[in-house]
Each structure stands twice: as structure tokens, then as C-alpha cells.
Symmetry: C2
Subunit: 310 residues, 2 copies
């Protein structure tokens, strides 16, 4: 078995970036130089029945919505607004695929996102087969400010923030109905010099490790500062609740860093704008990530989130 991380490294070594690609495999999306003074971001995600949703219990509306929303979350993570969507679907020849209603509902879910964020469904591909339902979405986007944000741009001393409470997303179906954080991404892009940003799709612990690894840095995280979602059972032990916030995944909140001097400015601006952001720690030189409890005890944070094997 190869981990996703190893697999991505192998691809990076085989496939060189060639102009106009500035940033290729390894971030939330790719960055292309499309003219002398403008950049474009392209993101893509493939969602599969039985993996990312279960059509036995999930409506086609929510499946279509989620397929677009997870890609919008990737664009938000790079500080971009969407410009166009490309949707490919594989429809089972028997069962759900035969229902005209299935497709109408699927595209109604897609349309909720294209209407909400005002971009076009500009192309795609449709096939039927003997396999289960699959949907691939590819989105193009352009930066809210001059440049897209990368996960590799964290700097030693940066304050680390998340945009919302974490954990329990799969338990309560939040992974199907979340609102991608485009609004706060735009606000951040216009308010402060964001250093690194990515979305939390596989759990804070794994995604923070990815950001720190990409940036060549480490971090100290205050356990008590991590916001825990109300979807995490309140009767669980504190330890289990923290583990849920660190590892459940599919939160689709943003994880970002800003310079230390910008952190307090940002916190004040967020208060004024009634926007919730949570400072959870600090970037440091040592490459490990320490988790510090309320008593000041340190432990290594494990990269225990959801990592696909291929």
C-alpha cells in the first residue's frame, strides 16, 4: 500500500511543472499564469457513491451539492472565487440511473451552488455504465486579491487560525450541507496579508501536518483553543471530544496563518465584522507539531486524520 502522500511525491517527480503552470500537484489547487498580470486556479475532486455519500440514504440533491461544495472549499482555501464548473458523471445503467428524477435532483443540487456563488456550469461529460454512481467536478477560479494563497507559505512566528468549530461532521451530515467558506476567504484576502491557507478536509491534525510540511515549519497548538463543534457528542470525555475535532475530517473550515503583528489586527477586525475566527497556535521552526494542554503539558500531535491509501 502506498499512502496518498507518497503517491503525490511520486507524481511530482514524474510530471514536471511546465509553463503556464506555476503551482502543480500538491496544493488544494493548481495555479496557472493565464496572462501577464492574471492567475487562474483549477481544482478538482472525484466523489464516489459509498465513499463520499451513500445514495441509499443521501438524496441526489445533496450528492450534487456536495460534489460542487468540496471544490468550492478548495477554491476558498486558495483565496479564489469560482468562475466555471465542469461536471462529469457516471450513471448506473440499472437502479438509480434509470430515474429521470435522479438527474434533475442531482443538477438542482449543483445549481444551488452555481446560483449562490454566481458562476457557470460550462461543460462536462455524461456516461452510463455497470458501476456505481460517480461524479467528478472541476472548477476554475480567480483570486480575490492579487495572488492565490498556498499551503506552503507559513512563516515561523505566524499565528494559526481556523474559521470555525471542528469535529462530528460525518455524524450529523454536516459534510453534505456545509457552506463553503468563500465569504470569509474574500474577507480575509481583503483584510490582511494571509500567509498560508488550506481547507480542513481530512481533519485538523493531518491537514495541519500537511501545511507545516509544505512550509518547512512546525507548530505549537493550544488544545483548549481548538473550537469543538456542537455536532461532537457533549457526553463524550474531553479527550474524545478533542480527538474528534482533530481527526473526524470533512469540516471544510479554513486553516490559515498570518504574521504575528497582523493577528491582533485581524482579531479586532473580525470582532467588528462579526466574523468568527479562532486562533489556535503558532508556527515555529522545529518541524514537529506540539499539542499543549491547559496545564502546559506538551505532547506530539499525531497526523491521525483521514488519509487515503491507494
Amino acid at each position: 500500500m502506498t499512502t496518498e502522500r507518497q503517491f503525490i511525491r511520486e507524481l511530482q517527480s514524474k510530471f514536471p511543472n511546465r509553463a503556464p503552470v506555476l503551482i502543480g500537484i500538491g496544493d488544494d489547487g493548481a495555479v496557472l499564469d493565464v496572462s501577464a498580470d492574471s492567475q487562474q486556479v483549477v481544482v478538482t475532486d472525484l466523489l464516489l457513491d459509498g465513499v463520499h455519500f451513500d445514495l441509499q440514504v443521501t438524496s441526489p440533491f445533496l450528492a450534487g451539492r456536495k460534489a460542487v461544495a468540496v471544490n468550492l472549499s478548495d477554491l476558498a482555501a486558495m483565496g479564489c472565487r469560482p468562475t466555471a464548473a465542469f461536471v462529469s458523471i457516471a450513471i448506473p445503467r440499472h437502479g438509480i440511473g434509470m430515474s429521470q428524477n435522479f438527474l434533475s435532483e442531482l443538477y438542482r443540487g449543483i445549481q444551488q451552488m452555481t446560483d449562490e456563488f454566481q458562476f457557470a456550469l460550462a461543460g462536462g461529460d455524461t456516461n452510463s455504465w455497470n458501476g456505481p454512481f460517480a461524479i467528478n467536478v472541476c472548477l476554475t477560479g480567480v483570486p480575490f486579491s492579487e495572488r492565490p494563497f498556498l499551503r506552503s507559505a507559513a512563516e515561523v512566528g505566524d499565528a494559526i487560525f481556523v474559521t470555525g468549530p471542528l469535529g462530528g461532521s460525518l455524524l450529523h451530515g454536516r459534510h453534505l450541507s456545509f457552506m463553503p467558506r468563500l465569504q470569509i476567504s474574500r474577507w480575509l484576502a481583503r483584510t490582511v496579508a494571509v500567509h498560508a491557507m488550506m481547507d480542513i478536509s481530512d481533519g485538523l491534525s493531518l491537514d495541519l501536518h500537511r501545511m507545516m510540511e509544505a512550509s518547512g515549519t512546525g507548530a505549537e497548538i493550544m488544545a483548549s483553543a481548538i473550537p469543538i463543534h456542537t455536532d461532537v457528542p457533549t457526553l463524550d470525555s474531553n479527550e474524545r471530544r478533542l480527538a474528534a475535532a482533530l481527526s473526524d475530517g470533512e469540516d471544510f473550515e479554513l486553516l490559515f496563518t498570518v504574521g504575528e503583528s497582523d493577528a491582533s489586527i485581524l482579531t479586532a477586525a473580525a470582532d467588528d465584522a462579526k466574523i468568527s475566527i479562532y486562533k489556535i497556535g503558532q508556527v515555529r521552526n522545529e518541524v514537529d507539531i506540539d499539542l499543549i494542554d491547559a496545564d502546559g503539558n506538551r505532547s506530539k500531535m499525531q497526523d491521525s486524520g483521514w488519509q487515503h491509501t491507494v
Copy 2:
């Protein structure tokens, strides 16, 4: 059952084009305005085991190669060179997916295309599941000349050309090993004012109907001028051989039109450049497509190619 054509019309009515999308659903690819003076084309195709190839007999190398090549054919059809590829794959948890060699060979096939045409693999998504193998490829491209070519730009009086012999592609595996017509697309873009262009993926008869419908025109085709591929069995009757050239599909040759006065210039230039192109007929005002045999007898050409039902 809804035909692909009806399905596309429904999507067009639900999803309006929004800036920067100039051309959306319905052509070989979408056209985006990416800056004041440059356009980008985006194409996508989803290929499925058991539909577009059969991994029981097709090597993963050829499957990966084909997944990129069919998209390159769409770019060639729009007069564009590729700039970046985004590849999403769903890998069966059991069977082929477990073999490391499968992925290496798949990406070696993809790499043959990215190296041949010098563009980047810039992103993608990888998941394993309990379904069969599926691969979605999305490519970005930029025009060889100022603007992309559309299937809707045929004009009454235009000469109609194809870039190579047709038929028998599936019979002899040409659909797995064809070379996308990027070179001739570039040559055409630089040699003549191409009016309409598209690639022949579902058979000349169906694809020509699509081009004429999109252009609001019809055509007269000389049956004896249609080049028949050597992959079509020579012992078949002339009628069956012609039907194969019209309907077999997966030829991935280009179908294009140029103004009548440009047709002879183009034919002479092609002779000089030792490039094979075949003039097969003419665009006309009446919306039907007539097929004219060697004796001058006319019959209506059926849109009998491969049309997916969804």
C-alpha cells in the same frame, strides 16, 4: 430514456453562461475569457472500465493514454494546444487497484501524452472504492491562433473536410492508440480561416449532424469522397464499408469547414506540406444532410452514430 442531445439542451436552459464563460455546454469544450486579449478552452471526459476500454484486455498504459488522448482530440477540435491536465481516478479496492504496477503503467500512459505535447499534469484526485476503475481528465488549452474554433461556425457554401480515413477504430484497437490531431489543427489554424471544426468521436454521420445543427445549416456529402480506413474489412460490401466509415465512431479525426474560395488554396497547401485532408462535401442552406452516391442518387444521411442515452 433521454438522449444525450435532449439532456444537453435541458442543462443549457438551467445553467446560464456567466462571465467569464463565453461558450459553455454543447461544444467540444468551453471557452473562457481569461484576460482582455486571451481566451482559454477547457475540456473534460470521463472514461469508464467496460465502456471506453476493458481492463480485462486493455493495458493500464493504453487506458491512461486514451483518457488523455480523447481530451487532446477535443482541444485539437477547437484549434488549441494543451496547457495543463487534471486527472481524477477511482481505483477498485480489490483486484487491479491493489497492484502498484497498475498505477505506474496508467501514469506512464498519461506521461506519454504530456511529454509528446509538452504540458503539465497539474492536479487531480485519487480515491479507492468498491466500484470498477474510472478516470476523469480535464484539460486546459489556449488557441493556436487568436480564437478557438467552434462547431457552430459553418457557413452556407463552405467546403467540408475530414483529416483522415474513418471506420473500424474499435475493431482494430485504433481507439486506444490514435494520435490526437494537434499537429494538423495547428497547421490549419495557421494556414487558412477555419470556419467550423469538431472531432469525430461518435461517427461522421452523427457528428456532422451535430455540426450542421449547431450552425443552423445542412450539407451535401459525396459518398465516394469519404475516406474509408484500412481497419474496415475489405471483404465487406461497399454499403457496409461506407456504413462503417459513417457510424463506427472513435475515429478522432477532425471534421472542419472552410470558405469555398479557401478550399482549393488549402488543398494545394496540404499537398505541398504532405498533409492528408479529404474534401467530402459542401454546406448548404437546407437543414438536412444528403448523401450522394457515384450515380448522383440522393438519400438522407441518418444520424446513426453512437449516441449515449442517460
